[in-house]
């Protein structure tokens, strides 16, 4: 078990290294092919009408005159050993893991990422609870009343839920519920859970529901299929033969087995989501990792792009590991090797 985890962690680190190299390369090599000089890169980070002197100074400061490999090395060094940053008026110390300073806001990336991940985590957890409860409950009921009106309408809605884009549903629900009826908070509303948990939940309610609808649909279909399969298993008959009440049979025996694939899918979904619920955050103007990533890419903000890409990759890798470990817990027949 321990060796298994160690092996997976080493694999994950290698994976992150590759992701970072690819990201770095895309940033530099694609414009290079179009003939970008160090100054052309630097020109993205100066005000309009900046003089050539300004552009050269900025190119120098951002290290664009060094070979890409050297720049990458500096990035890695910052992560393991931290770095120092000249603010003009003094020197700022950026302790490891230092993803550098934003080319745009001049702010250290790491604290920003940590701050943003609170938003994404809040969004993700609330939505996950809703979609798990809603999706699984719908799926179970649909499976138990297979072919009924409830089943058919639930599955119809589920199909629509999966196919409707969130910026569409998000915008519509904002206009109706926030601006029309005033029931929910407007876009961009946010307060940390530690400050005011009630307000936190109120602010996030609409994003939660919108995001959850998208996922709940998938989970309802998944659960329905799983339940239809497990409820036909012999051990269900055994449970009934023991005299167990039907609810116990469904939940403790049927659902327990049907949940296994759902745990897997959920782990991966949640990992991906933690890397940034890009569309939801943009639609609702929530300052999470997803919006950070979009802004970073839009602004060609390399350190921010690197930071958020690596963090997202880390979440996915961790989610994968957790899912595999969890699988062994959920299904005792699975052996980790």
């Amino acid at each position: 078990m321990v060796t298994y985890i160690i092996r997976r962690v080493i694999g994950a680190l290698a994976m992150l290294l590759i992701v970072s190299i690819v990201t770095f390369a895309i940033f530099f090599l694609v414009p290079r092919l179009a003939g970008a000089t160090p100054e052309a890169f630097a020109a993205r980070y100066v005000g309009r009408g900046a003089s050539m002197d300004t552009i050269r100074l900025v190119a120098e400061r951002l290290g664009f005159y060094d070979p890409v490999a050297v720049q990458y090395g500096r990035f890695l060094k910052g992560i393991v050993a931290g770095t120092e940053y000249d603010t003009g008026a003094g020197v700022d110390h950026c302790p490891a893991p230092c993803f550098g300073y934003s080319f745009i806001t001049q702010q250290p990336v790491w604290p920003n990422l940590m701050d943003r991940s609170r938003v994404t985590l809040s969004l993700g957890i609330g939505a996950a609870v809703l979609w798990l409860v809603g999706g699984v409950a719908t799926g179970v009921l649909s499976a138990l009343r297979r072919g009924s009106f409830f089943d058919r309408s639930a599955m119809g809605i589920a199909l629509a839920g999966v196919s409707l884009p969130i910026f569409f549903t998000g915008m519509i629900s904002l206009s109706i519920f926030s601006y029309g009826l005033g029931w929910t908070a407007p876009g961009g509303a946010w307060v940390d859970v530690t400050i005011d948990p009630l307000q936190w939940a109120y602010n996030l309610l609409l994003p939660w529901i919108t995001l959850a609808l998208l996922f709940a649909a998938t989970y309802a279909r998944l659960t329905r299929a799983g339940m239809l399969e497990t409820m036909g298993e012999d051990y269900i008959r055994t449970a009934r033969a023991k005299g167990l009440v039907e609810r116990g049979v469904v939940v403790k025996h049927g659902l327990r087995a049907a949940l296994t694939p759902i745990v897997t899918v959920f782990g991966l979904d949640f990992g991906l989501l933690m890397g940034g619920a890009v569309l939801t955050e943009s639609t609702f103007s929530l300052n999470g990792l997803g919006k950070y990533a979009v802004d970073a890419i839009k602004n060609n903000d390399l350190p921010a792009v690197m930071g958020v890409t690596l963090l997202a990759a880390l979440f996915v890798v961790v989610a994968n590991l957790v899912v595999d470990l969890l699988y062994a817990v959920v299904d005792p027949r699975v052996r980790l090797a």
Partner: protein
């Protein structure tokens, strides 16, 4: 005055897209406490459907049930689903075919026995666990204290079957149905399990129904034997009678294809040709006639007229158009010698 278990004209039909499946079609039998009934028949003859029907496990499904099932003076087909549920596991229990799939793979053997016990007994988990260990010990699982926490897949086939038995017996059921308890096991283990069941039955004085393909198994264990074919009873009587003086050609076939300890097991003497009948389009007349070597001896009635289950001697019922004398003659002069010669 009815028997402890009294099944009268039991019919269990399943409407399907292809037509009505008559899995059980007019079954009547009875059983007393402390006695054992063996039900034999080929695959698909309706044995499992019958036992699930007695336990009320078709309730809520799409099965159509009719007839009467009396258990200890109570009729079960008309009783409420919840009432039958309360009896299940406590008053009547079942040992299932194929214990690997019949036990939940995600729960330990102990947990599953504990669950069975606690449904009917208001005790703490600790007490129930002690009981589960006890039960595992009783059915011959070595070191039950540690094995109680194993998962089904960590048990061998024989141990799983013992665990299944332990689970079924955990609430001292008065009626125990064992659905092919030994099919998946090798002969030595088979013998052990059968011994175990006999011992336990004596100990608990319960009524036992043993279901199997294998006449040999029931012959050792049963007081009565019921032979099923195509959802119907074709021969029913005391074990010795059915085993030593069978009168139905299908029973002869079963005996002929019975593996015996004194012979090569793979060898089948009188194989029954053909395959079991469709339960949707049951052959007209005698359901067995397409496969019966004696069908032409009934002057064409076999194809047109459904034979009745008739008393041929006290306590012995047979469903065949052939005259009883003819049947006995055939048995004595042709079948029996063939079975004995080799």
């Amino acid at each position: 005055m009815t028997a402890f278990l009294d099944v009268k004209d039991l019919r269990i039909h399943f409407p399907t897209d292809d037509g009505l499946v008559r899995s059980v079609d007019g079954l009547t039998f009875s059983l007393e406490r402390g006695k054992t009934l063996g039900i034999v028949g080929e695959s698909g003859s309706g044995k499992s459907v019958t036992s699930l029907g007695i336990l009320g496990l078709h309730k809520g499904g799409r099965a159509r049930m009719s007839g009467e099932i009396w258990l200890d003076g109570e009729e079960l087909i008309g009783a409420s689903a919840d009432h039958v549920r309360r009896l299940r596991g406590k008053k009547m229990a079942m040992i299932f075919q194929d214990p690997l799939s019949a036990m939940h793979p995600y729960y330990t053997v102990g947990d599953q026995i504990i669950e069975a016990y606690r449904i009917h007994h208001d005790v703490t988990k600790k007490v129930a666990r002690k009981h589960a260990i006890d039960m595992l010990g009783r059915v011959g699982i070595p070191e039950p204290t540690s094995r109680v926490d194993d998962y089904p897949h960590q048990f061998s086939g024989g141990m799983r079957q013992r665990a299944m038995i332990a689970m079924a017996l955990s609430c001292d059921p008065e009626l125990l149905i064992a659905d092919e308890p030994t099919t998946a096991l090798d002969v030595t283990v088979q013998a052990q399990i059968l011994d175990l069941m006999r011992d336990l039955q004596r100990e608990f004085n319960s009524a036992l129904i043993v279901i199997t393909h294998d006449l040999g198994v029931v012959a050792e264990l049963s007081d009565d034997i019921l032979v099923m074919y195509g959802g119907k009873c074709v021969e029913y009587g005391a074990a010795e009678t059915v085993f030593y003086d069978p009168e139905h050609p299908y029973t002869w076939g079963l005996l002929g294809s019975m593996p015996r300890l004194d012979r090569e097991r793979t060898e089948r003497l009188l194989p029954i040709k053909g395959s079991p009948p469709s339960l949707i389009n049951v052959p007209p007349g005698c359901a067995f006639h397409p496969r019966c070597p004696y069908a032409e001896r009934t002057e064409g009635r076999a194809e047109t007229e459904v034979p009745e289950l008739l008393k041929t001697s006290p306590g012995h019922l047979v469903r065949c158009h052939m005259a009883p004398e003819e049947r006995r003659r055939l048995w004595e002069s042709e079948i029996k010698p063939m079975l004995e010669t080799t």
